[in-house]
Point group: C3
Chain length 267, copies 3
Amino acid sequence: MKIMAAEIFKSVEDIRAKSPLIHNITNYVVMNNTANALLAIGASPVMIHAEEEVEDMAAIASALVINIGTISAPWVRGMFKAMASARLKGVPVVIDPVGAGATPYRNRTIRELIHANQPTIIRGNASEIMALTDDRLKTKGVDSTAGSNEALHAAQSISEKHQCAVCISGVVDYIVSGNRTVKIANGHPMMTKVTGLGCTATAICGAFAAVEKDPFTAAAKAMAIMGIAGEMAAAVSAGPGSLQMHFLDILYALSESDVSRHLKMEA
Amino acid sequence: MKIMAAEIFKSVEDIRAKSPLIHNITNYVVMNNTANALLAIGASPVMIHAEEEVEDMAAIASALVINIGTISAPWVRGMFKAMASARLKGVPVVIDPVGAGATPYRNRTIRELIHANQPTIIRGNASEIMALTDDRLKTKGVDSTAGSNEALHAAQSISEKHQCAVCISGVVDYIVSGNRTVKIANGHPMMTKVTGLGCTATAICGAFAAVEKDPFTAAAKAMAIMGIAGEMAAAVSAGPGSLQMHFLDILYALSESDVSRHLKMEA
Amino acid sequence: MKIMAAEIFKSVEDIRAKSPLIHNITNYVVMNNTANALLAIGASPVMIHAEEEVEDMAAIASALVINIGTISAPWVRGMFKAMASARLKGVPVVIDPVGAGATPYRNRTIRELIHANQPTIIRGNASEIMALTDDRLKTKGVDSTAGSNEALHAAQSISEKHQCAVCISGVVDYIVSGNRTVKIANGHPMMTKVTGLGCTATAICGAFAAVEKDPFTAAAKAMAIMGIAGEMAAAVSAGPGSLQMHFLDILYALSESDVSRHLKMEA
């Protein structure tokens, strides 16, 4: 199911116009980049994790983003409470299973989070998505050891079981929901040398989910914009340091013609 | 009450010469930028929050900066202890009520912190300053929903009640202390698209409070330097990514003529 | 004991080829830069600190990096567990005693960590290294108040007592192990104006320790690369903001001729 550049850009304009509040409970490594990427695209990020206030915050957010990168027990308690509050209010919930497969604690936690509260979108790399269904899969830290297409079956089964959209990001991104699939071939290998661009993609999914009701369409639009901004940034960058800077500048100034010129989406 | 560019720059030179130790208990999102901004202006930042050591650290600091952005119970305990230790030793305390008005937990915590230990300077956006006095005010995350001038009355009442300087930052910054007020029209709208420049302003207030005894003057000088460096950075930036980089470069190399050429301060 | 540029670059190529998993339990301020520097040099960083999973992660890592910058009790528990697991599996452990000497809690914690588990490399500034052996030494936050050479005696005694390599970083870096010493005069003063480049050096020591068995050689190679990339970055930077960006770009693209052209190592 292909989406037109004009439709994708319409959601960017909606984000810029509405400045949706995106509540993130994410990891320490990427909080700053994630907040900056959300600001650059026009959203209003907030990072709050304490049990005492996550329910209040998630309830008034336009999307909730849950990322297990640097979890510990108190943060996980906050995640459960925030997700329950979001579901109650109909706030879309986007989940990033960072490092799923790396440790038993991580596997257990992410599965409990997903089972307790139906997510709207799950975005991970191939290893992470596969680890959500396969107990024997051992991953190496937070980097994928498999190609995106290897995780397609896992993504379809997760999508059906939890009635959510699943995004496998990699050289080619796949977005899956029920019997719908779309492939996005945007992006650049240098993006894997900047920490947290995967986490940023998840947060951007949150921004699109705030303005686009269909989870599959929201995830596909978000991944297209991530890939396009990333490859435009890589084209003018000497390395990962400048890529990170240009990525934010490009996201901030992105035009409809940028999207239509670069979009590589296939049904 | 206007302050001359030469006087403002004199404090920058003092910071560069004395390299005051600024103890920050701040939020996860901005720790890196805040530390970098303090280093760029010539101060020596330290970020320490554990109950076991905050009293020792605050006691030898030249200023203490408290920012409630990503609070949780253990951090709040550290904030109380650090503030008490700072007050005992006469170390100036600068407070940033990030997201005040967004949740009851946040409102309760910031009020208790301020009541328990008289702060030297409080800096926030208009919504945050108003939320310190008005229980009914609901804010949207961490971005202001009001203009700076709407918060003037709240700032004056807080300044009188707590005998401190209050800074409302926005398109125009207001600094209030007793019956003194000053307006600063420096800065650039793109600064709101970089996460944590408000938090950075608060930390810079700490650096100035370390070398300038009068809280009102320290806050006004700090906000002038923030606004000037921000607008100089915006003038050479394609977007928020490059703004953040240029901001640090400009702060590092700031000259007296930069200050006198750009300063827009009004009584 | 001098090391040739070709040998140093051989280890860079090994890191790029093997992409070793570096497990970091580090401070909030520098997590993002540290991860980015490890990615730029070709390693695969992971930041995980929870007691529930650090043993599993450290056991499969190629090096463990422990940094006490923003410690609190739960993180220290994670550090002990991760170090014990690493030692059991023969994973090299690199320690950064950030702010040693600044508070009693910090002094006690770092000594207990070092005593409980023999480290492979310890890297700190002169004040921090001296504070590991001298109880009376009071340091000012996280910046050194002594020259590197003043800490040589302390470094030698720590190296003998704990059978590890010790690196004192500063204007000149000293690496000490038993009766071996090497001096590296690379680097640039502007590097001290970017937060966490010391912490980054420690993480880079981890990457080299993952591919180079001798701790002394690993530390010397890592410090040479840090200094060379730092001075190359400073040469094209207007200030500390751009230095941080160029540092990552340069680390990513570093060539053998860069190393041989810039290396200033002396026995």
